[in-house]
Symmetry: D2
Subunit: 350 residues, 4 copies
Amino acid sequence: MSDVEKAKVAVVGASGYSGIELLRILLKHPGVDLTTVTSRQNAGKSLVEVLPQFKAYPGADGLKFTSPSVHELAKSGIEFAFLALPHGVAAEYAVPLFEAGVKVIDLSADFRLNEASVYREFYDKVHPAPALLKEAVYGLPEIRAKEIANARIVASPGCYPTSMLLPLIPLVRSGLIESNTIVVNSMSGVSGAGRSAAIPLLFAECNESVRPYGLPRHRHLSEVEQELTIAARKPVKITFIPHLVPITQGICTTIVAELAPRCTSMSQVEAVLEAVYRNAPFVRLLGNGGFPDTRHVRQTNFVDIGWHHDPRTKRLVLTSAEDNLWKGAAAQSVQSFNLMRRIDETTGLL
Amino acid sequence: MSDVEKAKVAVVGASGYSGIELLRILLKHPGVDLTTVTSRQNAGKSLVEVLPQFKAYPGADGLKFTSPSVHELAKSGIEFAFLALPHGVAAEYAVPLFEAGVKVIDLSADFRLNEASVYREFYDKVHPAPALLKEAVYGLPEIRAKEIANARIVASPGCYPTSMLLPLIPLVRSGLIESNTIVVNSMSGVSGAGRSAAIPLLFAECNESVRPYGLPRHRHLSEVEQELTIAARKPVKITFIPHLVPITQGICTTIVAELAPRCTSMSQVEAVLEAVYRNAPFVRLLGNGGFPDTRHVRQTNFVDIGWHHDPRTKRLVLTSAEDNLWKGAAAQSVQSFNLMRRIDETTGLL
Amino acid sequence: MSDVEKAKVAVVGASGYSGIELLRILLKHPGVDLTTVTSRQNAGKSLVEVLPQFKAYPGADGLKFTSPSVHELAKSGIEFAFLALPHGVAAEYAVPLFEAGVKVIDLSADFRLNEASVYREFYDKVHPAPALLKEAVYGLPEIRAKEIANARIVASPGCYPTSMLLPLIPLVRSGLIESNTIVVNSMSGVSGAGRSAAIPLLFAECNESVRPYGLPRHRHLSEVEQELTIAARKPVKITFIPHLVPITQGICTTIVAELAPRCTSMSQVEAVLEAVYRNAPFVRLLGNGGFPDTRHVRQTNFVDIGWHHDPRTKRLVLTSAEDNLWKGAAAQSVQSFNLMRRIDETTGLL
Amino acid sequence: MSDVEKAKVAVVGASGYSGIELLRILLKHPGVDLTTVTSRQNAGKSLVEVLPQFKAYPGADGLKFTSPSVHELAKSGIEFAFLALPHGVAAEYAVPLFEAGVKVIDLSADFRLNEASVYREFYDKVHPAPALLKEAVYGLPEIRAKEIANARIVASPGCYPTSMLLPLIPLVRSGLIESNTIVVNSMSGVSGAGRSAAIPLLFAECNESVRPYGLPRHRHLSEVEQELTIAARKPVKITFIPHLVPITQGICTTIVAELAPRCTSMSQVEAVLEAVYRNAPFVRLLGNGGFPDTRHVRQTNFVDIGWHHDPRTKRLVLTSAEDNLWKGAAAQSVQSFNLMRRIDETTGLL
């Protein structure tokens, strides 16, 4: 790997959970020269003072948090900017960076939707940069590798959507399941709710607690339905129930749908999934009868997918597991970076 | 409560998780004289030697585990026997006790099914006492209070079924939901898998792990479909996906179903649930928009039930939470005991 | 218990973790008429809206949070006030209540120290009501039952101190250990840090984390050394290292000290502890070789105490476990209430 | 790293927790050709069938568990054998491998003690291969780098000892602390108890549980006192109290000792630690006032060390954190491998 050319990279908003995992990955990435890490609240402090877990990591000891204006940042010579910022804020950074020719990989929701009107519906605000929506590529590498490679701005998918879309897109696209019968239940680790001081996220509130939330219209529904509609070539609406469970990292997703009449055998399900993911290094098909486990994907970019047929109800059950901060956020965005840099997709991720 | 007459009670199989919680409840129950606690492996030891958490509890310090033959037990003068035994084993005890006139409250699955053939299908063995199936009452107190009060043998429901049946029965019975569209996802604490030495149940295997299992045909499906079929007055088949989550006690269940055409308003849903549970001291209706939390029902006999309408898909989402060892096992069986003794249903449980 | 006369009681500051457990205990206490629960932030809301876990509890459904001025509270007819407030704030309430003849049971640190100067040293502020310090009784019921019974203001001990003082006081008093060699390590559940929105207390920060803190001079040292000095009849200084561990409730404390020359046999240790705690319903002596476990005391008022002799080093190791919110806070304060009311010490606590 | 020459390596006993982490590290290690992974119970199965977390890892998909006799193994052409076996069993493998010229890195306790008589005292059995004890080097790389580099058999230290010896050896050696006053408390994650089906290790037994155990003479005391005695050049006896806490991986250790008269300033403590660890890539000195956290060292080979002076008692408090399976077992043994191979000590570990 020693001959990978390094790109100058900034991580903007590096002290949330996604930002921290981005640092963990990028500090060791052979194709990254991490020149800038920004944080408003920690500006001026050294990286290892704020995040002592990185002390003595290669490259970490010299880094300092800065808080440049977006225009300073745009002119600072960086080639790539990872935005690990809240939605709304991310767009404020993305536009000037994009205009300055910096390639943007945005981990927020700001550029995931094709239509500003849907953004308004689900995020309760006017989209701050609708003109850029057409430029942005929805960065699911297993589905859009080529567009990502050519993109100037990538909207890295949300944690829940990744865990649903990878199992569902091949089956919806092939018409093996009835796309209007999809019911999704997901269980997410608490880091998915962000690193913000809030009583419901305290240890003593989350331990021994399992709870649904976000019904009936979690924000992530919008990007999931957008992508499934594209795959199905007809409008798709799904039911999605997120739950908070007492783990730090991980999402377990369980999807139920009716099999379409054209699906007469489980081998068709397997064939369709195999065809799409045969060469996908991070999708692990566990097969008919396989069960994923969040513990098996912790701190990895893998998504594990299993499935079961229930002949009594003619339904298919798809199950998946991923690390919400890795495949669901930081690592997946690095996977897109690798594609944009035309280096091995797995660089820095295995 | 001091004037409640005490019944002589045995707990058979008192060192598993349900048995331990039974002891916790019965030791303080004003209507119980706990004369016998049995355990093959701990026979001869004092209760507090095996279960030091009970040291200095009222009535616990003098108790010893015994291991009587079932015939000795039947003749020992007990009036009630709680069976906290594995399925198959429970029936071996139930028959002689029943024949000796001891009232039996069985926490296993042995007498929950009306048909021996279904038992064979789901439990892979010939039913050991099919003649008793007609005598046994499925002990869901909120649904069958009168039959339980008159029963000589009560089959206390499983933990998963309780969490599904209480939200579903009123709605299925009233025809407000389409009973052939029901999809259930449940997340159970690890105690639900029993107190047996098995590597998948170790702390280091369960911590940071969320995993589905038991597909496509978990054993508890059989009793759920039996009871829903009774409620619907037509055959009901459902999809049920259990998951293991890293909590000790608790089940969170999420149910999705299509609304029937006759359901034109959420107030109908509320009215039907209110009508059935208005006087049920342990069912807490959280209303339209309410979310349950396993932490809020820990060590209680409550079931919390909330619901949401998804107008985009015309589906109803029902959510419930209970303690799998309390309302899902030990406490619910004591609730049946209270009914059988014609004392206040909440005695010893609030 | 039905003939216990009820006292009118207020809980001031009822939405922190100690306050919530106080409510859990007092709502069921046969000698309590809980007339007032106060909370500045929740004033006007019903108890069960803020704390849904209490819905359908006996007596809870009608209660509302109020926010009376301390003078309104003093004149409201209450006979007892439990103060579950931060230190400093508690004293502001205690003085007018005390002057109005209300008996005060304070769970904060404000009245635990005999000397205002020590308060200033350890709490970095001038004591707000030094005149009351002489009135207040340090409320460790196993050590000061008679003084508590006659007290008008009780300073209920801290969670860490309780776990240390109960094992240590008899041994220090008897001179069996060298009081200048005491080293204490404690591991506390996260609820001990309070119900405040702070990033270090988030689930994702505490899970998989064990960390010492508070060195070299944790605030609780002051009351521990005060009480050990009284027991030893000479100045005692100890080393105390608190740790945060990922459990919700519980403190495990391990104490090491050198045996004094006069201690020539472990039977002396046992005899001294037995003599003091023979009739203490909440102290469970596990004996020489016994090990406590926080899980065994969860949601109880018990303190479990074991000990071991290390003949290689001539040291004694004392170990204890308690629930930091029960014996370490709420339940212990109710134990003092029972003593003050001259009713059975265990009322409402077993 | 691409020009590191690969050594043929076997992992013997690869399905316990240390073995699994060894696989995780060695599969990616550029200097390792992992030719053999053995497991009696899993012989014949593929690695990824038994350990699905390794599916799609580089090099994992082709591997199978085998169960060769030790003589077959000795002749199989391997150059290094990592033994991740129970004590007693490890020696059975070590002797023939050693005699066949295979370099042995033993993670068990079998070769950590210099005297067979101490082994007998602490492990209750006659040492199976006393002749090899003189050959074996106690493999603490920060203390014995040169001897390890030249060793033919390395006894990799235990998890608890590593967390104590690294803070203590420099201070004991320099005489800054009184070596006869050392009191150590450690809190270990449950994986430290091994991957064996035992009820006390179940999730439902460990969650919400903190408990001391192993008093008064935990087996690891023997190697700690041996190494401290060498450092002090006089006999050292310490008090050591291990605790089990509900985390999967990690050890937090807190050490208290009296300062020796020659220690007149904390800068001496810092100077001594800095002198020993200045060039140690895996020891992170957090300084006077610093606090370690097990979460910060998870899945790393780091040991974090902080310290505090308590002028009131003239004692020093040293605190450390490590991952019990990494620095405390698997990763540390790979660090020794790197030294033996004369490649960068951090290869495969950063």
